[in-house]
């Protein structure tokens, strides 16, 4: 009876329906699972984790104290641990836990992370006085504070040390800000001025109009800049001294004491003693720092502001190029070109160009834009800088232009679709009232199609923002020395290389020397990128749906 009904069930075709339904579920689970993993790992990065102190006793070896954050714990078959050369008991349990501990102190231990067997961690506790020092180099430090020094003299010790340290860190932070302003803005401007003078001299030389007079002018200007620099230099020195005035002595897990200058410290906190609210405040502060700060330590720590800025800048310029041109091509194809087999072919070709691998556009951009166009621009207008290329090297402008070429089919297709949706009656009404074709287009058709153009633009931006492969060839670098926009003439530096969120993920996750330490940061960056792109796409979808509703009403 039961067998029979199973047969009947199979015959009814229900298994097929269930299986195909399962495919949908799998796709949905995969998408949401991926987003969840990225979100959890990315957002977890900013939480000030508790510090664990324990004695690690490998059987048969001397034990030592370890301090660190528990990053990950997993059950591992005994055989695998044995394979790694650990003295595991032969007749123990089938599995043992293995914990990944972030022990920091890279300057002392050599590596930030260490795998430990959980069962051998004894005497685990979380003492309040353990602190985390976020440093500008060598990663985090975990340990306890011994004393605070000013110009080498101890001014606070023990209990009193902590509040003093916090006070001093605020002071150093303030100084560091002044320092960075001085270095980046003032001295940057002087360097920029000197470089411009050098190029001016060279240009005059090339044109053979470098008179003694002009030379004297330039020399005078240079002398002025040099004098300014001298003044700033002494200020700089002073600030450096002030930053290095204070230092602290800290003790790491095994009792070794080292001295760290306060100038090297970004934050200091004692996570074990913090309340949830304090931690929450710190969490958002960290999040803000991540979004607004420059990267540190070969991009593996700190913020990603330059990458965000670069991505935004590049997509903005791309959108500014791609929208008018894409719309123009679409208007031509739909409104002016004679509809026939040729336009059909063009339409198919444009449609398919959207499916051409992005890297092909990168190759084209590098060959044509950078070397051919950029090379000619350099010879014509920037001869004084040669052989150092100005535009004949990958940069912001070429990156934007390459992405524009890549995304223009998207705009054309979307705009054309919008133009096609506009009912004939509207057009004919306008023409019947005596408007010329151009007037109809400008005053009637295009305004009605503007949401479609908007959709096209947003989709183009979304595609461009997520594309990395072509950018690796035409202007994105792992670390750009400065932002493409600053206070020096011409303010927007189209020839500069930029940083990019997508490339940042690739670079930090795969090319950095300390991938393990950078991993949480990569997840956070990825989360940001996903959010931006999902947001853009969803808004494009919303506009499109809105548009459809609107024309439905017009059709009747």
């Amino acid at each position: 009876m039961k067998k029979n009904s199973l047969n009947a069930w199979f015959k009814s075709g229900s298994p097929g329906i269930w299986m195909s339904g399962g495919a949908v579920s799998i796709a949905v689970i995969m998408t949401i699972g991926l987003l969840l993993v990225i979100a959890v790992r990315g957002l977890g990065h900013f939480w000030p984790a508790d510090l664990l102190q324990a004695t690690y006793a490998i059987p048969g070896q001397a034990s030592h104290v370890v301090v660190g954050e528990v990053v990950q714990a997993e059950e591992v078959p005994l055989a695998r641990l044995k394979g790694a050369g650990l003295p595991v008991p032969d007749n123990g349990p089938e599995f043992m836990t293995r914990e990944l501990l972030k022990v920091g102190n890279r300057d002392i231990y050599g590596a930030d992370f260490t795998w430990l067997v959980g069962d051998w961690l004894v005497d685990q506790k979380k003492p309040v006085e353990l602190m985390t020092l976020v440093r500008r180099e060598w990663g985090n430090f975990y340990g306890t504070l011994v004393s605070v020094k000013e110009s080498g003299k101890v001014i606070a010790e023990g209990e009193a040390g902590w509040p003093t340290l916090q006070e001093r860190i605020v002071r150093v932070e303030d100084l560091a800000k002044q320092l960075s302003k001085l270095e980046k803005k003032d001295i940057g401007a002087i360097n920029h001025g000197l470089e411009r003078l050098r190029l001016k001299t060279r240009k005059l030389e090339l044109e053979k109009t470098l008179t003694a007079e002009a030379q004297a002018d330039i020399d005078a200007e240079r002398a002025e800049l040099d004098a300014k620099y001298k003044g700033l230099e002494s200020q700089l020195l002073e600030l450096h001294h002030a930053v290095d005035r204070d230092s602290i002595v800290v003790r790491e897990a095994d009792g070794k004491e080292i001295e760290i200058s306060l100038g090297k410290i970004v934050h200091a906190y004692q996570p074990n003693g913090m309340s949830v609210f304090t931690k929450l405040r710190m969490y958002f502060a960290n999040l803000w720092e991540f979004l607004s700060d420059d990267p540190r330590e070969a991009n593996t720590e700190g913020g990603i502001f330059p990458a965000i800025f670069g991505t935004v800048m590049m997509t903005l310029i791309m959108a500014m190029i791609v929208t008018p041109f894409g719309v123009l091509a679409a208007v031509y194809l739909r409104e002016y070109a004679k509809q026939g087999p040729l336009t059909r072919v063009i339409r198919i070709a444009v449609n398919n160009l959207a499916g051409v691998p992005a890297i092909v556009y990168g190759v084209f951009g590098l060959g044509f834009f950078v070397y051919v166009l950029g090379g000619s621009l350099d010879r014509l207008f920037f001869a004084e800088a040669l052989p150092a290329p100005t535009f004949g090297t990958p940069g912001l402008m070429w990156a934007s232009l390459t992405l524009a070429i890549l995304a223009v089919p998207v705009v054309i297709v979307a705009t054309e679709e919008g133009l096609a949706r506009i009912p004939r009656a509207v057009r004919e009404g306008s023409l019947a009232l005596g408007a010329t074709k151009a007037e109809t287009l400008w005053k009637v058709v295009l305004p009605m199609a503007s949401p479609a153009m908007m959709t096209g633009m947003i989709l183009a931006v979304a595609r461009a923002a997520g594309e990395v492969a072509p950018l690796m060839l035409v202007g994105v670098v792992k670390l750009a020395p400065s932002l493409p926009v600053d206070g020096n003439y011409p303010y927007l530096h189209l020839d500069q290389k930029i940083m990019h969120l997508g490339f940042h993920i690739y670079d930090v996750g795969f090319q950095s020397p300390n991938v393990e330490a950078a991993r949480p940061l990569v997840y956070a960056t990825a989360l940001l990128l996903v959010m931006v792109i999902a947001g853009l796409n969803l808004s494009a979808v919303a506009i499109r749906n809105h548009l459809r509703e609107k024309y439905k009403a017009l059709d009747h």
Partner: protein
């Protein structure tokens, strides 16, 4: 359309109060018409130029790739007959040109070296070599291409080694090249034959420590080794001479060559045979027959750049390449690699290039051939002079000088990309130091004698392998999901599912790649049994859930309407997944000795890379699913309702209608969806870049890495030299990708359009 400009509006008599033809209004109409015209032109030019700019991609890529397949170009310059050549200058033994193409050198059999300007042919400097009294030059030999060492075999059994060198100076900002001779082993000739017989053939090979000199007199072989040793205390160098005794052969010797690694000595004899000696253990490796044809004989020979290959020219105009390669049993044999044919006149001289594995050959009829060995390319054969001549090729292989009679024929040569040919790109190539022909991609290396190996075959293979595994995952999932969504799913759920899939499509590939490389790869490595059991358990679980559902009492079953199966399956799949992955370590312990990865590489003998094709398949499959899904779903959804309703009305079940009617009708659409998915998988860059180890291997192994065309371009493009062969080959791979995806997409689009027409007819 509205010809405003020329048609005066006829005012209606009844409403004649408004005059439309006042000059002012006419002018306004004219301006409007002008604007209309301008707008038309503006849009037309603008639109066409945008479209033109996009299509520029094709032409530009083609334009960069094209020179790869062009042959060489030879331009003859004015023939020179310099004064020094008219006098009794002796027979030329050696002609050479220096790096800058300004100065050439000629060594004559009179023991005289003349340096002359290549431009005019005028003499610059004349040096008489320090030959001992009474001795004459009997033979000449050169070290491997590019190190300017020359050895002269003398009639008194000794040999003179000298080096021609050129010093570039810039007095008064004017480049001047001063040629000169150096004697690194002393001006006094080295005694090779103690009996004082004339040395008929000489050869040398020099490294920093040791110089080997080989010579022959009749059928007797003589070898001398000079080891220089630097005294640590005084810094003085002392030369130690050592005579090497070799087994003697009976045949008259015609030429001899020493391998630059000083392992092999090749001796060609008069009967078109080569004897190869192993210099390390001083034994005869074997005797090899060089020519099949009994009438032919060896007329010219040389070593290619790097000295590994011997090029042997014969009296029938053929040139063949030989080098030492290992047999499967491990013993080294002198092997015939490939042949070139120039004409039917005997080859008189072969000159190797100093930067590439190319060579030029001159035959007795005065024809010049330009070749590349590994690419098996004959780039040019052209008649240069009448009759015999002597040839010099410049180090950059862009200048030639041929001496014939009392004239010098200077020629300039343009031969930018000889190393690329169809066979080198796509076929198996037998490279030097390899034991058999292979497909290899290896574009750069540290040393200068390295030959770039530019076979696109492993990259294309990697591309297709990655696409294959991706499609293996994506095709069934996406098509099944599309069918369900379009046909069975409740509309309300459909509205929820589609945005999720659209989100999936929008995810940047760099995210998928990083996720695959940093999360999935280590996770899969640690949970291999779980991943594989998922493949079996998930379908089983779904079926079980479906069957269980049908067994449930109606009161529960009817609460969930039809078309919501997917939702009920989500928890089922989650449970199955958790179970399978949770069981993974236990399964490893029970079946695979605790570590499946080790088990795979040890017990099965399969290489396991952490970032392998399986990971790429998973990640790229994920990327391709939404592409296939949305097109396939569209195709299924737009199957006319009349067809399905008809089928259902005739008593078919929904599943029967699905398989027999809907899928059949929509199959072209589904096919085009798969093609577009394939196109996407082939061109994907970031995922493969991050999820594989990027090793260009040709193995179908699921657990091994790969390198695709696209990833290769991304990795190597920034480092390649602009305009070089490597650069152009990378452009070629981009062009291949472009054409492949473009053709795939166009076909898919045409199929879809036909389908749409068909639907419209129904």
């Amino acid at each position: 359309m509205n010809d405003l400009a020329n048609s005066p509006m006829t005012a209606n008599s009844s409403s004649g109060r408004i005059d439309f033809n006042t000059p002012e209004l006419q002018r306004k109409r004219r301006i409007r018409a002008l604007k209309d015209h301008l707008a038309r032109w503006y849009v037309m030019i603008g639109g066409l130029s945008v479209l033109g700019a996009i299509t520029l991609i094709f032409f530009y890529l083609g334009y960069v790739v094209f020179p790869l397949f062009q042959g060489a170009e030879l331009t003859e310059k004015k023939v020179q007959s310099p004064a020094w050549l008219q006098q009794d200058a002796g027979k030329p033994l050696l002609l050479a040109i220096e790096e800058q193409n300004q100065v050439a050198m000629r060594v004559s059999d009179k023991g005289e070296v003349i340096f002359f300007a290549t431009k005019s042919g005028d003499e610059i400097k004349r040096v008489a070599l320090p030959l001992p009294a009474g001795a004459t030059v009997a033979s000449i030999g050169q070290a491997q291409a590019g190190n300017n060492l020359v050895v002269l075999g003398l009639s008194n059994g000794s040999a003179l080694v000298f080096k021609h060198s050129y010093i570039v100076t810039y007095p008064d900002n004017h480049k001047t090249i001063t040629p000169g001779l150096e004697y690194p082993y002393g001006e006094a000739p080295l005694v090779i034959d103690p009996q004082g017989r004339a040395l008929e053939h000489v050869s040398l090979s020099a490294t920093d420590e040791t110089m080997l000199l080989g010579a022959s007199s009749g059928s007797e072989l003589l070898m001398l080794s000079l080891t220089s040793e630097e005294n640590m205390m005084t810094g003085e160098t002392t030369l130690t001479q050592d005579r090497i005794a070799l087994p003697q052969i009976a045949e008259p010797i015609k030429a001899l060559y020493i391998d630059p690694r000083q392992q092999w000595l090749y001796v060609l004899n008069g009967r078109a045979q080569a004897d190869v000696f192993n210099l390390r253990d001083r034994t005869l490796n074997g005797r090899y027959k060089l020519l099949e044809d009994a009438d032919a004989e060896v007329t010219a020979s040389t070593q290619l750049l790097g000295g590994i290959s011997l090029m042997i020219g014969n009296s029938k105009g053929g040139i063949s390449q030989w080098f030492m390669a290992r047999d499967p049993d491990g013993s080294s044999r002198f092997k015939h690699i490939r042949d070139f044919q120039q004409g039917d006149s005997p080859i008189v001289q072969i000159n190797p290039e100093e930067r590439r594995k190319g060579f030029v050959a001159l035959d007795a009829a005065g024809e010049l051939g330009i070749y590349h060995s590994t690419a098996e390319r004959t780039l040019l054969v052209e008649k240069i002079v009448d009759g015999k001549g002597a040839l010099a090729l410049s180090p950059r292989a862009n200048r030639l000088v041929v001496e014939a009679g009392t004239e010098l024929h200077p020629l300039s040569l343009k031969n930018p990309h000889p190393e690329v040919s169809f066979s080198a790109l796509w076929g198996k190539v037998w490279y030097e130091s390899y034991d058999e022909p292979k497909y290899i991609w290896q574009s750069t290396a540290a040393n200068t004698e390295f030959e770039p190996k530019l076979s696109l075959a492993p990259l294309t293979f990697g591309t297709l392998k990655a696409a294959f595994y991706a499609m293996l995952l994506a095709a069934p999932l996406a098509v099944a999901a599309a069918i369900y969504t379009a046909y069975f799913m409740a509309p309300r759920m459909r509205r929820k599912v589609k945005p999720v899939i659209e989100l999936m499509e929008a995810l940047p590939t760099v995210i998928l790649g990083f996720f695959a490389g940093l999360f999935l790869a280590p996770y899969v490595e640690g949970h291999l049994p779980g991943i594989f059991s998922l493949l079996i358990l998930t379908p089983l679980g779904i079926l079980l859930a479906g069957w269980g559902w049908s067994r449930l009492p109606d009161s529960i079953r009817l609460r969930v309407p039809e078309g919501w199966e997917s939702l009920t399956l989500i928890p089922v799949i989650l449970i199955v997944g958790t179970f399978a992955l949770g069981m993974s370590p236990y399964m490893e312990n029970w079946f695979f000795g605790g570590d499946m990865r080790l088990w795979i590489s040890h017990d099965l003998g399969i290489t396991y890379d952490q970032r392998n094709a399986l990971i790429v398949g998973l990640a790229m499959g994920f990327a391709v699913i939404p592409n296939i899904f949305s097109i396939a779903e569209d195709a299924v959804f737009s199957v006319p309702r009349s067809l399905t309703l008809g089928s259902l009305a005739l008593g078919a079940t929904t599943w029967q209608t699905m398989t027999r009617v809907v899928i059949l009708t929509a199959s072209p659409g589904i096919f085009s969806a798969l093609m577009i998915g394939m196109g996407r998988a082939v061109g994907e860059t970031m995922i493969v870049l991050m999820a594989t180890g990027n090793t260009p291997v040709m193995e179908m192994n699921l657990f091994e890495g790969l390198r695709t065309l696209a990833a290769n371009v991304a990795v190597e493009m920034p480092e390649s030299e602009v305009g070089g062969s490597h650069y152009r080959v990378l452009f070629l791979s981009a062009l291949v990708l472009l054409l492949f995806t473009f053709i795939m997409n166009t076909l898919a689009e045409l199929i879809r359009q036909r389908l749409r027409k068909k639907y419209a007819a129904l």
